[in-house]
């Protein structure tokens, strides 16, 4: 992934000639200030809790746990950042997740559908809900805040009806294993101690990153844009690869990659590509950045907005399936506050409340920062109250940090 954030650029003056390493680094850093800042913060937070918890934080079981506990929020965050980039908001995703989970559970338990069909049905329900909300927002012009606030109530209400006032549980094993389990264990000759398939996938990911980064760099240099000097570039890629392999090694010593991690990786790559490289992605940024100018440039902004909400509905349904599988039951209160966590992740990761700015990768990083802090707090047995306070302040200071930076560099 090489998502560059379209953050406002520094000043506008060319750097003086004879710039040293420090200034090159500074430029590279400030171009992407929120994302780099958050990555750095993530690293610091991990190290801090690693010390405070005497090594529990980076214990393979805990790492695996953090991913599985937060994967479904990150799925939502990916959809939410796209909604926010397009200049809207979606408050209904928690209720939609609950409803789609309930629908899937009822189909599996009451109607005895095969779980595969139930999954498809849940995703279709999600898409239809997205289409319903997208219709009012895009074609009728009701503010998304209001449409999705209504949706939040309506779909929570329907969830109650679908579940008939009680939890529906004991879901098929196949469904749970394929969504919240781990990759199967094959022995490919690395010994039984580590998860072989995970090692292989980890190496493939690393290779993918190297090839992708190299390709990007070649494109940059060919048209004469400023690229990182070679040694910094190699350093950066080496750091990413080392991180990927270290992470893989950690998980391989436990149960291997959780399925949810692969789902996330797939979504991150797909949506990252759509947002950065395709006409559709460009149109979403354009509509969010200045919808009047986008319209007059021939962008079909209503259709774009409609798509964004349909997509959000599908991802909310995916989230609903994951949470239902993880809890092994569909409950009336599933997904409470999920919308707020997803929105917070997007903003911490660099999205702008006025639209047009943000990245999928940033939202995932934002979600991870929150997740690691929440995990650290519960490992150090902080009270629930304290957890809320810390996460609330994190959101505020992450955005404040960004605004402060913009003021400093921007006159």
């Amino acid at each position: 992934m090489s998502t560059t954030s379209p953050e406002r650029e520094v000043g506008g003056q060319a750097p003086q000639s004879g710039a040293g390493v420090a200034s090159v680094l500074r430029t590279a850093f400030s171009k992407n200030i929120r994302q780099s800042g958050m990555l750095l913060a993530l690293a610091v937070i991990v190290v801090y809790y690693q010390i405070v918890t005497h090594g529990t934080t980076l214990h393979p079981a805990n790492v695996s746990n953090v991913i599985q506990q937060n994967g479904y929020i990150l799925v939502l965050a990916i959809g939410m950042v796209i909604v926010i980039i397009s200049g809207h908001i979606d408050l209904s995703v928690g209720s939609v997740a609950a409803l789609t989970g309930a629908v899937a559970a009822q189909l599996m338990i009451k109607q005895h559908w095969p779980w595969g069909w139930a999954v498809v049905a849940a995703l279709v329900v999600g898409a239809l809900i997205g289409a319903w909300q997208g219709f009012w927002i895009a074609y009728i012009g009701i503010p998304s805040f209001i449409v999705t606030l209504s949706g939040m109530l309506v779909f929570r209400g329907i969830t109650f009806t679908v579940l008939g006032g009680r939890d529906v549980g004991q879901l098929p094993r196949g469904f749970r294993e394929r969504t919240t389990g781990f990759l199967p264990k094959y022995d490919l000759g690395f010994g039984g101690k580590v998860h072989n398939l995970t090692i292989v996938l980890g190496l493939l990911f690393a290779l993918f990153v190297v090839v992708n980064q190299w390709r990007d760099r070649r494109v940059q240099t060919r048209y004469g844009a400023e690229a990182l000097p070679l040694y910094l570039f190699v350093g950066k890629v080496a750091a990413v690869v080392a991180f990927l392999l270290g992470f893989t090694w950690l998980l391989a010593r436990y149960n291997g990659y959780p399925v949810v991690l692969l789902i996330l990786a797939f979504l991150l790559l797909t949506y990252g590509f759509i947002m950065k490289r395709t006409v559709l992605g460009r149109h979403i940024y354009a509509v969010g950045g200045n919808s009047l100018a986008a319209k007059l440039s021939g962008v079909k902004s209503q259709r774009v907005t409609f798509f964004v909400f349909v997509n959000m509905g599908i991802l909310a349904a995916l989230c609903g399936l994951l949470i239902t599988a993880r809890l092994n039951s569909a409950t009336q209160s599933a997904g409470n506050f999920f919308e707020l966590e997803a929105i917070a992740a997007a903003f911490i990761g660099g999205a702008s409340a006025s639209g047009g700015v943000g990245t999928v990768l940033g939202a995932v990083i934002g979600g991870l920062v929150t997740a690691v802090i929440a995990n650290g707090l519960s490992l150090t047995s902080a009270s629930t109250g304290r957890q809320y306070i810390v996460r609330g302040l994190l959101l505020m200071f992450a955005v404040a940090f960004d605004i402060f930076n913009k003021k400093r560099v921007g006159r």
Binding site: P6, G11, G12, A225, A294, L296, S297, G298, V299, K300
Partner: protein
């Protein structure tokens, strides 16, 4: 006997990281005079004003400010306003949802212990409105006023603050000819009452009309201050020379036009207002543009020029649109903006910041937006092709930016306008409708824009050019259509048109236009 100085700014220097915005600038304003500041965009005019107003507080600049014979050090706007210095910014600072009276006394309410006395507010507001010659009810919402009247409200607000020195940043930039004259008249009246004004303006004819003194800035330095003796006529060329540092012998580049066949025609075009569906905004207008021809569209604000063009361009404005559009001799139907683009029509919008650009995005992404198809394959964008095309425009159009990854919001107005033009030229249009491209940009950049228009005509395109500046229409166009209140009131060829004849057609009212159709 020269009047004593009300304001003296001595040796003002101010730098931002990497740039010196002001270097030893000196400004001397006498009591009761109208003092104009002229300079290209980026010359430091706005910075100087912000230093004076305390927006850049004392300590963030070097040099001294002496006001009424006393050295002053303002920490913020309140400081300067307390001394009677009021700045009216180019972008008006009124709140559209509030009434005139509420806006005038905003932050300065007539109240006792936090409770507003509305009677007193209304009374004082009405008195102030009389003083500025605005006949409106003080309860009227700002949103219901035109820009010209809003400008008068700003001045009334300044008067409520016991203004001694009024500073106006581009006060007439958004006004039509008539409102501009009214405003200038008011400034002269204030002068008669002893209020001095500093006016920043690009419109040299207006400066020449009212100014007692002109200070010219260039690249952050004072070039000269011209004092005008009574009855003396200011030499506009001298101002221009000072501003650009070179002779602008050809403000309007020479062009020999050889129009070909008719390429674009609109017939019997009628449009109704989107909200008030009984009101015709464009009324039965027909016009045509030939290949290689630049045709002007003149009219006062509200005459329906922009509405006509936007409704043609993929029905982007209005309801109950009727009429026909022809390309060559074939009728075309433009239901959406993409239809229009596909048929080779480009509409370069007025108000580039609102309608034309994505200010938070890069040059290359702005240039490609209307023609992403050209730089993508199966919906996947080639960033290399995108950047290469944008780079081509950066060089060809002389866009002053380090590279095409520069954020458009950081560019000057003229360069932003070149980006909008690039974006539309990149769609390979045959017909370009260009709406107020030179508003708020400096003289050097204007001249470059005229050059681009000429080049488009030389490339056999049909150009329809909307402008509110008459000299510009006269200098650039082969023919000029005039609209007034939604109707076509005349068509003049280049050799027949003068500012006076255009103005007469522009102000012609509905009744008269039926009889008096100049051809």
């Amino acid at each position: 006997m020269a009047a004593p100085l009300i304001l003296e700014m001595r040796d003002i220097s101010k730098s931002f990281p990497g740039v010196k915005a002001l270097e030893h600038v000196t400004l001397e304003v006498r009591q009761g005079e109208i003092h104009a500041i002229c300079g290209e965009n980026g010359a430091g005019k706005s910075t100087l004003i912000k230093v004076l107003g305390g927006i850049y507080p004392h300590g963030s600049y070097e040099g001294d400010i002496v006001y009424n014979g006393e050295e002053v050090a303002f920490k913020d706007i309140r400081g300067s306003e307390a001394r009677g210095i009021v700045i009216i910014h180019q972008e008006l600072a009124l709140i559209p949802q509030l009434s005139i009276a509420e806006n005038i006394f905003l932050g300065n309410e007539h109240s006792t212990r936090g409770v507003i006395s509305w009677n007193e507010t209304s009374k004082h507001a009405a008195a102030l409105l009389r003083r500025v010659g605005l006949h409106e009810n003080p309860e009227t919402r700002i949103a219901d006023l035109g820009v010209g009247k809003q400008q008068l409200v700003e001045i009334a607000k300044a008067l409520s603050k016991k203004v001694e020195l009024l500073i106006l940043d581009e006060p007439t930039a958004a006004l039509n000819e008539e409102d501009s004259q009214k405003l200038l008249g008011l400034i002269l009246e204030l002068k008669a009452n002893g209020i001095a004004s500093v006016i920043i303006s690009h419109k040299l004819n207006e400066v020449a009309q009212v100014a007692d003194a002109i200070t010219i800035l260039r690249d952050g330095r004072t070039i000269e201050t011209i004092r005008v003796a009574k009855g003396e006529v200011i030499d506009e060329d001298r101002i221009i020379r000072g501003m650009v540092g070179r002779d602008l012998a050809h403000r309007f580049p020479e062009r020999t036009s050889t129009p070909g066949e008719t390429l674009f025609a609109v017939k019997n075009w009628t449009v109704y207002h989107p909200l008030d569906q009984t009101r015709k905004v464009v009324d039965d207008v027909s016009l045509h543009v030939r290949r290689g021809e630049i045709v002007g569209l003149a009219g006062l604000i509200g005459a329906g020029r922009t509405e006509l063009c936007m409704s043609v361009f993929g029905r982007s404005y209005g309801t109950h649109i009727s009429g026909q559009v022809f390309k060559g001799d074939k009728e075309i139907h433009l239901r959406t903006v993409s239809d229009a683009i596909k048929h080779g029509i480009a509409y370069v919008t007025e108000d580039r910041k609102r309608y034309g650009l994505h200010l938070i995005d890069t040059i290359s992404r702005n240039v490609s937006l209307a023609a992403l198809r050209k730089v993508s394959e199966k919906f996947v964008i080639s960033e290399r092709e995108e950047a290469t095309s944008a780079e081509g425009f950066r060089k060809q159009m002389n866009i002053k930016a380090r590279d095409v990854a520069t954020i458009v919001g950081t560019l000057s107005g003229g360069n932003q306008q070149k980006v909008v033009l690039s974006k539309w030229i990149f769609t390979d249009p045959d017909i370009l409708i260009i709406d107020e491209p030179t508003r708020g940009i400096d003289i050097g950049a204007k001249s470059e824009i005229y050059g681009i228009l000429n080049q488009l005509a030389a490339d056999e395109k049909a150009v329809l050019f909307i402008s509110s500046e008459l000299p510009e229409l006269l200098g650039v166009c082969d023919r000029i259509y005039v609209l007034s209140e939604g109707r076509l009131t005349g068509e003049l060829s280049r050799k027949d048109a003068t500012q006076e004849s255009l103005m007469k057609l522009m102000t012609m009212d509905r009744g008269a236009s039926n009889v008096n159709n100049v051809a």
